[in-house]
């Protein structure tokens, strides 16, 4: 593709925000139109990207730019390939990327102390089978959110602008292939999200927004330190100081793991973690907060409870996936060794999240809070799939990330529609609505079923593969995660049945008379439900793109395994299993 | 430069600085405090110029010029604040002006 499609996708929402900023705030119809149009254009471009990605002759053909020429690295084959790459100089000069390392290597080791290395952060974009689907999901969810915003919404203009900015931030996280650029967008996405949470939503949104902000910033500061740590550690050993992700992946493979930090007390030496492990943990902390994993989750129920439904569509739908995306894109590739070392820890956290979230959802009476806990539970499953560190689990995790985006967005839209009609979020105050809202009941049923993995709806494939991947690591993980799905069935059915079935009951303070979905509401929900059904019956479109990437990430993570005959990686990957059929 | 003269200038500068500091610390009228601050700044200027002469460089005089500029802008802001406080009918007593504590 000759034109920079990724840059256009990335900055289109920002341009939309500028256009909206120029419109007087009274012209609500126009503002909403521009917001919807921008989001639709992004989705259209994302679809073009999907098709173009699909049409690539062989997803595994490396299009890696020739940026790696350090003499210690030239024999290493990059395990990860990215497509549609774009690169331009940003901080530090691009030219040094190609030529600098060797000269640095040869003569300047001694002066490294006094002359700071060039920053070498570039504007580098690219996609792989993982990101391309998340970009499409982002486009879809922002479009749905834009449609779902009511024209009467107070401060519509502010909302639209902030929404567009946050879309650019999210897309930047997904598209950037440079650690500094990634961090930049990671933090940049936070700011509009904070104001969206602060300005629009329920009564307790102020403290919730602050909690979210402080939590995430605290996590990402450690990540910033780790990014710099990777830069300096890799640079000191190979002479290549760069923030470029593909290069950094190669560098981190070849660097010596370093010695464990140690502390000598009274003659006893306590050994702690190696530098790479520290870096892994810092990244993992940021991602675990974003997902969030129990016990770092407490910002989520508050935020989900008080957010406004259109905001939650993309906040819960895509922002929470960024953590899981980060685990795959950064932890598995940059720190393959620690990924294996900490595999049991992350699996345990994932399983804890599954069960804890499910139990909390079982108890919650506030519908939105319940969906929030359900989301914790589902994303715990995604983490289990990622840290199964095998092809099945990782494919399942990627599929499940896309599916969960669809499902959670659908659930929050449903909750919003109920709240708009009955002014309540308490599931006990509602009952028997199916008779007078049959269309809503049907759509809600499909989403609720998908939420606990009903076959031939989208999440079955993902959950099945994740459980299989976990089973290959250890059956106990799969059993524990499977128990979570049983509880999920319990609380989802109870929500659906409680609200839709039984004899009709609505709260006294609700406006008299309610109606089934209006056309725009159907237009918002129906595409989600249709996608849930279609991707459940026919998951091949996702899998065709993800299976190569998932394999690459697994291969990448397997570099961290000391090859032994009984290593878990040998079971699914590599020559021991021979050629696939 | 004559060492005696040098010692004298520095001594004068120290004396001005001390007087200014005592004025800042003990007086309650903001205008007087301001004057004391000006006195301290000028003590610093004197020291700078003296050292500049002593080392035969222009650095000290350049610094002194910068300090004068800063002092001028500081006076502008400070006097504006004092006038503002006075216009709101407040007594000009530094110990009374402690609302910013909270």
């Amino acid at each position: 593709m000759s034109w920079p499609i990724l840059t256009v996708i990335l900055f289109l929402p920002l341009a939309g925000a500028l256009v909206i900023a120029a419109i007087p705030k009274e012209r609500r119809r126009l503002i909403r139109g521009v917001a919807v149009g921008t989001a639709a254009a992004v989705l259209g471009l994302a679809a073009v990207l999907l098709v173009a990605f699909y049409a690539l002759p062989n997803p595994s053909h490396s299009r890696l730019s020739g940026s790696v020429s350090g003499q210690s690295l030239h024999r290493v084959v990059s395990p990860i390939t990215f497509q549609f790459q774009e690169q331009a100089s940003w901080l530090g000069s691009l030219s040094e990327l190609g030529q600098g390392p060797s000269s640095l290597n040869q003569g300047n080791n001694s002066v490294n102390q006094s002359i700071p290395p060039p920053i070498n952060a570039t504007y580098h974009l690219g996609v792989d089978g993982l990101a391309v689907w998340l970009v499409a999901l982002t486009g879809l969810l922002f479009l749905i959110a834009a449609v779902a915003v009511r024209r009467r919404e107070g401060m519509l203009k502010t909302f639209a602008i902030l929404m567009c900015i946050s879309e650019t931030g999210v897309l930047g996280v997904l598209l950037s292939l440079d650690l500094v650029l990634f961090y930049f967008f990671w933090e940049a996405a936070l700011i509009p999200l904070y104001f969206l949470l602060l300005g629009f939503g329920g009564e307790r949104r102020g403290p919730a927004a602050l909690k979210f902000m402080v939590y995430t910033v605290a996590g990402s500061l450690f990540m910033l330190l780790a990014i710099m740590g990777a830069y300096f550690i890799g640079g000191a050993q190979t002479g290549i100081y760069t923030f470029d992700l593909p290069t950094q992946i190669l560098i981190q493979t070849s660097v010596h793991a370093g010695h464990p930090t140690s502390l000598t007390l009274f003659g006893h030496t306590l050994r702690f973690l190696t530098p790479a492990q520290w870096l892994f943990l810092a990244f993992a902390l940021a991602f675990a907060i974003k997902i969030p994993l129990v016990p770092l989750h407490t910002w989520l129920p508050d935020a989900y409870e008080s957010g406004s439904p259109p905001f939650l569509v993309f906040f819960a739908g895509i922002v929470s996936k960024l953590g899981a995306f980060g685990f795959i894109r950064y932890c598995l590739t940059l720190f393959p060794g620690p990924s294996h070392t900490f595999q049991p820890v992350l699996l345990a956290l994932g399983v804890t999240s599954i069960l804890y979230g499910a139990l909390m959802a079982l108890r919650a009476v506030n519908i939105k809070r319940m969906i929030g806990y359900a989301s914790i539970s589902h994303l715990g499953l995604v983490v289990v799939g990622i840290f199964a560190l095998d092809v099945d689990g990782l494919n399942g995790a990627i599929i499940q990330m896309v599916n969960h985006g669809l499902i959670i967005a659908g659930l929050f839209l449903c909750a919003g529609m109920l709240e708009a009609r009955f002014h309540t979020r308490d599931r006990r105050q509602l009952a028997g609505l199916a008779r007078r809202m049959p269309i809503f009941a049907g759509l809600f049923l499909v989403i609720a079923l998908a939420a606990f993995g009903m076959p031939l709806l989208s999440s079955f494939v993902g959950e099945f593969l994740i459980l299989l991947g976990a089973f290959e690591v250890g059956p106990a993980w799969a059993v524990a995660a499977g128990v979570g799905t049983v509880i999920a069935c319990w609380y989802m059915l109870r929500l659906y049945q409680g609200v839709m079935q039984g004899s009709e009951r609505v709260p006294a303070h609700a406006p008299a008379g309610f109606h089934d979905l209006r056309r725009v509401e159907v237009a918002v929900l129906a595409p989600l439900v249709a996608l849930i059904a279609v991707l459940g019956v026919y998951p091949e479109p996702i899998i065709r793109d993800t299976r190569f990437s998932a394999n690459q990430y697994v291969v990448s993570a397997d570099r961290g395994v000391v090859p032994t005959p009984a290593s878990p990686a040998a079971r699914t990957v590599g020559p021991s299993t021979g050629a696939p059929p | 430069m004559n060492p005696h003269l040098f010692t004298g200038f520095i001594g004068l500068s120290v004396a001005m600085l001390s007087i200014g500091a005592v004025g800042v610390l003990v007086r309650r009228n903001p205008l007087v405090v301001f004057m004391s601050i000006e006195l301290m700044l000028n003590a610093a200027n004197l020291a700078l110029v003296t050292y500049g002469r002593f080392t035969h460089t222009m650095d000290g005089q350049v610094f002194a010029l910068v300090v004068i500029a800063v002092a001028a802008s500081e006076v502008v802001v400070g006097l504006a604040l004092i006038t503002g406080v006075f216009r709101r009918g407040r007594r000009l007593d530094l110990d009374d002006l402690s609302e910013l504590r909270e």
Binding site: S60, S62, V77, P79, P295, H297, T298, Y356, L359, M360, R363, V391, D392, N395, A434, P438, M454, P455, L456, F460, F464, L467, L468, F471, E472, P475, V479, G482, T485, V486, I487, C489, W490, L493, Q497, Q501, G502, E540, I543, R547, A550, N551, Q552, V555, T572, V573, T577, A579, P580, P581 | A21, V24, L25, V26, V33, L94, L97, S98, E99, R101
Partner: protein
């Protein structure tokens, strides 16, 4: 080649596609679709599928016996494997295709599902005629038939699981069909959650097979294809056990996990409590799903996986013991229930327990044959009971019925035939299948012949409770006004009932086997390519004695019921007065509902409650609040420095400046 893979592909696609199309048209059409269309479309697609099954059946029968199984791939569904490219190693990931097997076992099941299912669809046109949700009902029914066909035709474990779970959903939707009744809603939820537990067992079994099945060379196969699994587990051309040796822990675990799935679906202990509650659904649903088809899927599963169970004697023994135990327990409970549908539901549980028992001891053909006859007479009993319920305006309590014999002159004989067939009275279908089933129990399985003794004693219980229904509901005087005013059901409901009555009378003659005398084993011969000949005959004398004993016990139960409820020579409250604990045990269904409530549901809810009230606010959020408060407290301490007196700030400033000067001066000095 067998019946021709193109033929099989087209046949399977049509059989599956017809009900699926029915479901899609009716569900997407919603309320706009006129009832007149649904009335024809709903049953029509199922009966058309039945015709197609019959064609496949005929084509299979025309083949030689050894050549009656064909597996065709319909769809390459999921493929995670990637080849090695550019030095990046490939991966042998999970692959699943939608393959179907057309073999005698699958065809028998498909014939029952579409045949009996078609009749019940026709019946439903009458039964549901007045209902608001007529279209919704047929959408779910067609979905159920589709799912069930996926389940029995699939040649891939993943699609078996998919069918397995979709059946559970359809069952849930139909149980909770009248969603304004709280009891129906609760029953649906209970059924679904139980099914999900069973699904988990099945899924784990699939995983276990996937990660540990080895081929003849000892290499891991990583497959979920059923023919491959069976070829590498049981006896075959390359005999070896791909899941560890015979009786190994691995194959036993696979067997137990499979049975967990089977137990949930077939309402066997310990996952049996949902079935009686499921009677909250409309009666045709009870007939189709909770008698003829879905609940027998567990039997199908055990029979289909018989190569695994043959290698796992402990698991198979467990299956047999649980089956016979459930059969006996359900029989005892059935004797005291007052709801006409619940009595039949417990009899279903009991009869399926017998089938599971037969599958556990290795009498696979007998199990499927009983499944076959049971589908007729149990659907018959339910539909006849449905006629009764319809006639008395949704009254299901036996104590409110009575005297219907004269008012329902077609339903009464039909119900009677069903009861006779269920009891195992000679010449009716149940007699043949039970005789074969129990005869096998005499010589096969663990702790022979004690399980047989229990099994035969169940005969007496069965005939007692079903004839208790016959006498209380149809004989005597009407005990309520609706019963007084009852009228026979319309033709669209009676004709399916009468067809089923005919089948329940004659179906047994497919398998005439009077203790080895003049055997005519048509059914067994048909299934033999799939399940093999496993029936071992006892000495003819013992066999005959068993046959006579079983029949006599059935007659004995019938006689007792007649004495108690027909002639009233024995007071009906004899047991409840003399042995109140036994009566209560039976009436309260052995307290399993209460036990599960106390052991599972309540602790989980209490745990959730505890997490919500204690752990979340105090531990997880507590740490967060602790950090916040600590920082706040620190800030509070620093606040005291801020007095607001300019003079103090300046003093501190000068003091530090002086100290700094002093320090510098000292260093220079």
């Amino acid at each position: 080649m067998t019946i021709g893979s193109t033929f099989a592909t087209v046949g399977a696609a049509v059989v599956l596609g017809l009900p699926l199309a029915g479901f899609l048209v009716i569900s997407l059409g919603g309320r706009r679709l006129p009832r007149a269309v649904v009335r024809w479309l709903g049953p029509g697609v199922v009966l058309a599928a039945f015709a197609c099954v019959l064609v496949l059946l005929a084509a299979t029968l025309l083949r030689p016996a050894a050549d009656r199984s064909v597996t065709v791939m319909l769809w390459q569904w999921l493929q995670l494997g990637v080849p090695k490219v550019h030095g990046v190693p490939g991966a042998l990931g999970f692959n699943a295709d939608f393959s179907v097997t057309i073999d005698p076992l699958a065809l028998v099941m498909a014939a029952i599902i579409t045949g009996v299912g078609g009749l019940i669809h026709v019946y439903s046109v009458g039964y549901m005629a007045e209902d608001q949700g007529f279209n919704r009902f047929f959408a779910y029914m067609n979905l159920f038939v589709t799912s069930m066909l996926v389940l029995v035709l699939s040649a891939n474990l993943v699609f078996l699981v998919i069918g397995w779970s979709m059946v559970a959903f359809a069952s849930y939707a139909l149980i909770a069909f009248w969603y304004e009744r709280p009891t129906a809603v609760a029953a649906g939820r209970k059924a679904y959650i139980t099914q999900v537990i069973g699904d988990l067992g099945l899924v784990l079994a699939a995983f276990l097979i996937f990660v540990s099945l080895r081929g003849p060379t000892g290499a891991l196969l990583h497959t979920v294809s059923l023919p491959t699994i069976f070829a590498n587990v049981g006896p075959g051309p390359h005999f070896h056990n791909g899941l560890g040796g015979s009786g190994s822990g691995l194959v036993t675990l696979v067997g137990v996990l499979l049975f967990l799935g089977a137990a949930a679906k077939s309402a066997q202990w310990p996952l049996h409590t949902w079935l009686p509650d499921a009677m909250e659904g409309p009666t045709p649903v009870s007939a189709l799903i909770h008698a003829a088809t879905m609940v027998t899927a567990g039997v199908y599963l055990v029979v289909r996986f018989h190569p695994v169970f043959q290698q796992a004697p402990i698991a198979a023994g467990l299956v047999a013991v649980v089956g016979i135990g459930t059969a006996w327990m359900a029989g005892v409970i059935g004797c005291t229930q007052h709801d006409i549908k619940r009595v039949i539901a417990y009899s279903t549980m009991s009869q399926i327990g017998l089938m599971i028992f037969a599958a556990g001891i290795g009498a696979y053909s007998a199990a499927i044959f009983h499944l076959f006859t049971h589908a007729f007479f149990k659907a018959l009993l339910f539909l006849a009971a449905g006629n009764v319920i319809h006639a008395v305006h949704d009254e299901q309590d036996l104590r409110q019925l009575g005297g219907l014999r004269r008012r329902m002159r077609l339903t009464y004989p039909a119900f009677l035939i069903g009861a006779l067939a269920l009891s195992g009275i000679p010449i009716f279908a149940g007699w043949f299948s039970k005789e074969e089933l129990l005869g096998s129990g005499l010589v096969l399985g663990p702790v022979t012949p004690w399980l047989w003794v229990i099994g035969v004693s169940i005969n007496a219980l069965t005939s007692f409770y079903i004839f208790r229904v016959v006498w209380t509901a149809f004989h005597g005087a009407p005990r309520s006004e609706p019963a007084e005013a009852a009228r026979e059901a319309p033709k669209v409901m009676t004709i399916p009932v009468l067809i089923l009555a005919g089948l329940a009378t004659v179906a047994g003659f497919l398998e005439v086997n009077f203790a080895g005398w003049h055997p005519l084993n048509l059914f067994q011969a048909f299934l033999q390519p799939v399940v093999g000949v496993v029936r071992a005959h006892a000495a003819a004398g013992a066999d005959a004695a068993a046959l006579v004993a079983g029949t006599l016990l059935s007659v004995f139960g019938l006689g007792v019921a007649w004495l108690v409820y027909g002639r009233r020579l024995i007071p009906a409250d004899l047991v409840s007065r003399r042995l109140p604990w036994l009566y209560q045990l039976s009436f309260r269904k052995f307290y399993w509902d209460e036990t599960y409530e106390v052991v599972f549901a309540r602790p989980v809810l209490r745990l959730a409650e505890g997490l919500t009230r204690v752990v979340e606010p105090n531990v997880f959020d507590g740490v967060v609040r602790g950090v916040r408060d600590a920082i706040g407290a620190l800030a509070q301490d620093f606040r005291s420095f801020q007095t607001g007196y300019f003079r103090e700030y300046a003093t501190v400033f000068f003091a530090f400046a002086a100290l700094a000067l002093l320090f510098l001066g000292l260093r220079i000095a």
